[in-house]
Symmetry: C2
Subunit: 208 residues, 2 copies
Amino acid sequence: MKKREIPDIIVSRLPVYLRALRRMQAQDQQTTSSQELGEQVHISAAQIRKDLSQFGEFGKQGTGYNIAFLVNKLREILQVERAWDVALVGMGDMGHALARYQGFTDRGFRVALVFDNDPEKIGRQVGDFVVRDAREMSQAIREAGIRIAMLCVPAAVAQAVTDQLVEAGVRAILNYAPISLKVPKDVDVKVQYLDPSIGLQRMTYYLD
Amino acid sequence: MKKREIPDIIVSRLPVYLRALRRMQAQDQQTTSSQELGEQVHISAAQIRKDLSQFGEFGKQGTGYNIAFLVNKLREILQVERAWDVALVGMGDMGHALARYQGFTDRGFRVALVFDNDPEKIGRQVGDFVVRDAREMSQAIREAGIRIAMLCVPAAVAQAVTDQLVEAGVRAILNYAPISLKVPKDVDVKVQYLDPSIGLQRMTYYLD
């Protein structure tokens, strides 16, 4: 089945399944069921079986899913069985937190380059990295062949930086700036938004 | 229509529509169409019309949506027309970034209390806040009647802190710890995950 034929919404659930399965694995669990997985991720068992069946036959009637096997399959499907180099742009509070974030290890990512345009920050050590001049960004990303960036710049410059990133070959942007980004229609660029206000607004609906 | 009858997936898209509409508003735009909105948020016009129709008749055939009206309606539906007080737990890098985050203003939230258990951090000023002792957390949250928390503690203690938060009356948790949280079945607690690895994994599938 071609990639484009799988709905985005299904792909977006796979990392959530993967995280839950890894957690079971960490607790030395060997097998699981769509029921158990569903309870952990708050998605129906039927939906999980339907989602996974898009990619192959991973479970057995009666015995359920072998966790190690399914983890490997999901890592393969999501292409995170290797570590992707990621560029981090903007070393404010959020960039700082991401540069030192421990949760990327073994989940497919490695921060490889960090940039800022503030002379006070350029050249400084943050975690394992030295902050580089944003003016070197396009060239450095192109030379390193980096396809993924995390964007932590102020909203006012986020679009201009995005244009540069796409021009330099970036095709996946995790956006922390609180604005919607425009990407060229003729290039396949994915953007994910991690906006805390939106996370919160998704829950206030339900509060009494 | 009762709250529980609207599928979660629809509710989860409303904040995204709201952000895009606010952006149009900031550019002095008066009206929009489901086509235009759809292009900005990468959701089909038909889906947007279907989602909004769950809540009432907001658009007019031919003239589209009045942006100010729709913004107000969405703020009302999401209950963010007022500012919710939010507790922030864990003043590591991520907590620090959130305490100083400017994107909550006018989007329905106000960080009201911040906590940590590190004696080095307790009593310190971060942004506008003084970090309070985590041992005071349950009581302070209960006294303030806070329903929403952002969780930025290490994975190892995230579940224990969650249990305390729920016990103290919190019903919506924005979780930055890289683990799945368990919440009691008999209490309606919502959890949203803002895990950067998951954001990235939702895009690697599409990379060549």
